[in-house]
């Protein structure tokens, strides 16, 4: 039951932020919503009820490093799309490797 709630709440909040990104102009501003705290709001909201504040705070601390990895991922996508003129879908999917490397690199250096 909790898993279903997590799935539905996550899907709903992510969709709301995605629609905000769709309707807002200019596109550069709408892009801000590509890094909206949608998954964080859903996850932290549910975690607060099930695990408590201290557990959620630990997740939030890790999230700071995840956001750093997201910054590197976004800049890598920007470089390959704008400068190298690569195709969008393969680029954005391949660059997920960069996110994993940065996120787990930060984890092994700062959080482990």
């Amino acid at each position: 039951m909790e898993l279903a709630e997590r799935f539905l709440l996550g899907g709903l909040i992510v969709s709301v932020f995605a629609v905000a990104g769709d309707v807002l102009r200019p596109k550069g501003f709408a892009g801000l919503f590509g890094a909206a705290p949608s998954v964080a709001l859903a996850t932290l909201g549910l975690t607060l009820f099930t695990e408590g504040k201290d557990y959620a705070a630990v997740e939030a601390r890790s999230m700071i490093f995840g956001a750093g990895a997201l910054l590197v991922y976004s800049l890598a996508c920007l470089y390959f799309l704008a400068k190298q003129r690569r195709r969008t879908t393969p680029t954005t999917l391949t660059m997920l490797v960069v996110w994993f490397m940065c996120a787990f690199g930060c984890w092994s250096v700062f959080l482990k």
């Binding site: 769709d22 892009g31 705290p37 995840g66 954005t92």
Partner: protein, 149 residues
């Protein structure tokens, strides 16, 4: 440049594209919860900033731009990729603000009202994201030399 709302953009998106984003959002939220349960909150927390829907969103933006150009009689264009790149630039700016969301939550959640802190963190994300977006515009404006005119 003024921020505005273009509701007509909603009509460009098909129902299956909304469904895809809903499913991806639900899946990553579920996955981050499961990762936290199995590997602990330190690793699980990393996934709160995972670019879950960015690839789908950027692909959608490219597709819509390409269709718009095709309707205008331009069959081959790089405009879609550049629009997706613009989205990536916005996401890079937003990710700095996302770190601020995490910082506010991490520092102030223990010992304070949880709903209030999440609301404050969301406000901090929005305020910093808008500020950085405005600052970037100012930076471009200055470097282009137009500020001197």
């Amino acid at each position: 440049m003024r921020v505005r709302i273009n509701l007509a953009a909603l009509k460009q998106t098909h129902w299956h594209e909304y469904l895809t984003r809903f499913l991806l959002g639900g899946a990553i939220t579920l996955a981050s919860g499961l990762v936290a349960r199995h590997f602990g909150p330190v690793i699980g927390g990393l996934f709160l900033a995972f670019p879950a829907i960015f690839p789908a969103q950027a692909t959608l933006i490219e597709k819509h731009e390409r269709e718009k150009k095709r309707r205008a009689g331009i069959p081959r264009t790089l405009r879609g990729r550049l629009a997706a790149a613009l989205d990536a630039r916005g996401a890079a700016t937003g990710s700095v603000a996302l770190a601020a969301f995490g910082l506010v939550t991490w520092k102030y959640l223990p010992g304070n009202n949880a709903v209030g802190i999440l609301a404050a963190a969301l406000a901090a994300w929005l305020a910093l994201a808008v500020l950085l977006w405005r600052a970037r515009k100012f930076h471009v404006y200055r470097w282009s030399g137009r500020a001197r005119r």
